[in-house]
């Protein structure tokens, strides 16, 4: 079976601290793979290894094998690699100097998704619809992101990521800083995408994980302590850490 992402014995050191320890996982194509764990366990670092955003930190060192879409991610050109991988961050970060339209269009332009202006408009519209934001912004595409609510900004960022037409989408606690209504819309958008895109999501929220996940990995102190199909993890967690995490005790 082919996997969208494969990690084998991955170790990450930042400032000589051992952050990720012998991580091995396989993410099947077109599934939602959720990574859970307490704060500081290395979840975000794990996501950043997949799209090599970890390289932004000059003091980070990654060892092991990371295969993304069959490419050897650690040896591949990071800019080319990132063109296949969209990412949504914990805090919404639309580009403040660009209009709503341009925020989405820029991702399509950079990745040569559209051939002309008409194509570009269609891609922007498609991405905003997929992010469940089109109806709210279709009459104000030339407004700036500061005129949107936090949840709308996050969905705009989702639209920006989708406009790249990525094969993989990384979501780093995307609903952590937004209200429940927007969180629900974002969740619906994620579920609607899972047949087209491989999604890797970090979350603190076991209920959210249960709603969206096909597979789950539980990470604690830089190690994966349990992983498998979501039904198995949620119904019969075998480790004490997983049980505590799912009960919300850690």
């Amino acid at each position: 079976m082919d996997y969208a992402i494969e990690m084998n014995n991955v170790n990450v050191y930042i400032d000589n601290r051992h952050i990720l320890k012998n991580i091995s996982l396989k993410v099947p194509y077109n599934t939602v793979y959720v990574i859970m764990g307490p704060s500081g366990s290395g979840k975000t670092t794990l996501l950043r290894v997949i799209n090599r955003l970890i390289d932004v930190n000059p003091n980070a060192k990654v060892e092991g094998v990371v295969k993304v879409l069959g490419l050897n991610a650690l040896n591949h050109d990071p800019y080319d690699l990132r063109r296949h991988i969209g990412m949504l961050f914990q805090v919404p970060n639309p580009f403040p100097h660009m209009t709503i339209y341009d925020n989405v269009a820029v991702a399509a332009r950079i990745n040569n998704v559209a051939r002309n202006k008409k194509d570009l408009y269609e891609v922007v519209k498609w991405a905003l619809e997929k992010a469940m934001l089109w109806d709210e912004v279709k009459d104000r595409l030339h407004d700036y992101p500061h005129q949107l609510s936090g949840g709308q900004k996050q969905r705009l960022c989702l639209a920006r990521a989708l406009a790249m037409k990525p094969k993989i989408l990384l979501l780093d606690e995307p609903t952590a800083n937004i209200d429940p209504v927007n969180a629900r819309k974002l969740e619906e958008a994620i579920i609607s995408l899972k047949n087209e895109i491989t999604i890797v999501m970090v979350t603190h929220n076991p209920h959210q994980a249960a709603r969206v996940a096909d597979y789950v990995s539980i990470i604690y102190d830089g190690r994966i302590v349990e992983q498998g199909p979501a039904s198995q993890i949620f119904l019969k967690p075998s480790t004490e850490i997983a049980q505590k995490l799912l009960r919300g005790e850690i």
């Binding site: 000059p58 969209g86 100097h97 991702a107 950079i110 500061h146």
Partner: protein, 281 residues
């Protein structure tokens, strides 16, 4: 208890107000004195103040400052783009590639240059440019001005670039932008106000610098020179020379030139402060 707190609050406010007045009083005094002395000179001279040559000591009319004005404009036109280009490139290197040996070297050189007296820069440029060329020139003056302005422009640019939240840069990388493209498409537009303010401040510094021009530009005031390879003059040099002479007509020209410089500064300040809009994060 409440009234004592209120009294303390008011006393502190009064103290802050008094200190602020003391701090800005010299500036206001300088503006008023310069305007009072120089504005009437410009008004009396009319358009000729901008188009004629300076007077002789025995002249009845103040004439104008055309050679110095043209010199200042040429010096700024030559020095400003070079300074901005080098400083911007260096600050991008320093911020985006902080561990690169070239970035570290640039940072050290820029910080060291800031502490070199500007008159020393003028002497070095005299030895390296004026002597081999065999004459003073706008080019030599512009090189000196560039060296003097670079550390300030670099510091401003790098401070503004560092102020861009990492999250926007990461968002740019995440959609496939390279570091350079992220700087051009994201960081620079976000700091556009700081970017333009830095250019204006550099312009103000170049326009007002005197010592760097002492041994480089020449003080040629008997005619207007448009060649960058010929000697010329600059407004601050003219003020420096004329205000110290015993001739009233020269002193009047100096006040008029100082007023012109001050007006230029005020325009730059107003544009920087009120016209250029900040990006709302």
């Amino acid at each position: 208890m409440y009234s004592w707190r209120k009294l303390k609050d008011r006393l502190f406010l009064a103290l802050v107000l008094a200190i602020s007045i003391v701090a800005i009083a010299p500036l206001i005094h300088l503006i008023i004195v310069t305007m009072l002395n120089g504005f009437s000179v410009i008004l009396n001279a009319g358009l000729g103040f901008f188009t004629e040559n300076p007077p002789t000591p025995t002249s009845k009319n103040v004439g104008g400052i055309a050679p110095s004005l043209v010199g200042s404009i040429l010096l700024t036109a030559l020095s400003l783009p070079i300074t901005v280009f080098i400083a911007l490139f260096a600050s991008i290197m320093a911020v985006e590639f902080p561990n690169n040996p070239l970035s570290i070297a640039v940072d050290v050189v820029a910080k060291s240059l800031a502490s070199v007296p500007t008159i020393v820069v003028s002497m070095v440029v005299y030895l390296l440019v004026v002597v081999p060329m065999g004459r003073f020139s706008i080019l030599a003056g512009a090189i000196a001005l560039t060296i003097v302005s670079l550390p300030y422009t670099y510091t401003y640019f790098s401070t503004y670039l560092r102020s861009v939240p990492t999250t926007y840069r990461e968002a740019a990388f995440a959609i496939g932008m390279s570091r350079w493209r992220a700087v051009i498409n994201v960081s620079l537009p976000i700091i556009r106000r700081g970017f333009l303010v830095t250019i204006l401040m550099t312009m103000a510094r170049i326009l007002g610098e005197t010592a760097a021009l002492l041994f480089t530009v020449g003080r040629y005031r008997t005619g207007v020179s448009f060649s960058v390879l010929s000697p010329s003059d600059a407004i601050p040099l003219l003020i420096f020379d004329y205000i110290l002479t015993p001739y009233k007509v020269f002193q009047e020209v100096a006040w008029g030139a100082a007023t012109l410089l001050l007006i230029a500064y005020l325009i730059i300040f107003i544009v920087a402060k009120f016209v250029i809009k900040e990006v709302r994060l």
